[in-house]
């Protein structure tokens, strides 16, 4: 009987690769989503906090300062997240 072992090996390998690629696509999409939140959430919180503080203490420039802090924090943590995920690959 012919050597179907080679055909089976080839097809099984192709199937396995296709499944791995499919899984990694979803994982990457998830990572991108999480990254977005890492960047935006500190800025949003800083905007709210900055607004409240500026109102309470009657110093309008405080809002800008706190938001700037939020941007720095968000930027830094998302930068670290990108580096960490690149190192994993």
């Amino acid at each position: 009987m012919n050597d179907y072992g080679d055909d089976v090996r080839r097809k099984a390998e192709r199937m396995r690769l296709a499944r791995e690629q499919r899984r990694s696509i979803w994982r990457h999409l998830g990572q991108i989503g999480a990254l977005g939140w890492t960047l935006i959430l500190p800025i949003l919180l800083a905007a709210v906090l900055g607004g409240v503080l500026a109102d309470r203490l009657d110093r309008p420039w405080l809002a800008l300062l706190v938001v700037a802090l939020g941007v720095i924090i968000g930027g830094y943590t998302s930068w670290r997240q990108i580096r960490r995920s690149l190192e994993e690959e």
């Binding site: 179907y4 090996r9 099984a12 199937m15 396995r16």
Partner: protein, 129 residues
């Protein structure tokens, strides 16, 4: 509406159980079978067939064969088939099976050769007397 997978080879029935789906490849490409699918008959080249039952996924390495879906029973007829649950080890299982099968074939031929030689010896012995 149920789907049953029945895998048969000259060695006997390797599988006969209810399944949720079957994915197979014929000469025109891959197709799927779910409960309630229209009946079909297809020729399967050597390769892998995938099925899904309550225990998870299963893989059937085939030396080629036929699939006949009728009345909710998916009959797969193959000259040789190996059932395996793990995609990563299917190819190795098949190689192991083929090695064993070839070794058995050689052993059988050796036995036949010995018998033939013995028969010849006796015939010649008889004729000489």
């Amino acid at each position: 509406m149920n789907l049953r997978l029945r895998l048969q080879t000259p060695n006997g029935v390797l599988l006969d159980e209810p399944v949720r789906s079957v994915v197979a490849e014929d000469l025109d490409g891959w197709f799927g079978i779910r409960p309630g699918r229209r009946d079909l008959v297809a020729v399967l080249p050597p390769g892998v067939l995938v099925f899904r039952d309550d225990a998870g996924e299963g893989f059937v390495a085939l030396a080629g064969g036929l699939v006949d879906l009728r009345d909710g029973v998916c009959r797969v007829l193959a000259r040789e088939a190996v059932v395996e649950r793990d995609l990563a080890t299917v190819a190795d299982r098949v190689d192991g099976y083929l090695t064993g099968r070839d070794a058995r074939g050689r052993a059988q031929r050796d036995v036949l050769d010995d018998l033939a030689r013995e028969a010849m010896r006796r015939l010649v012995g008889e004729a000489a007397r």
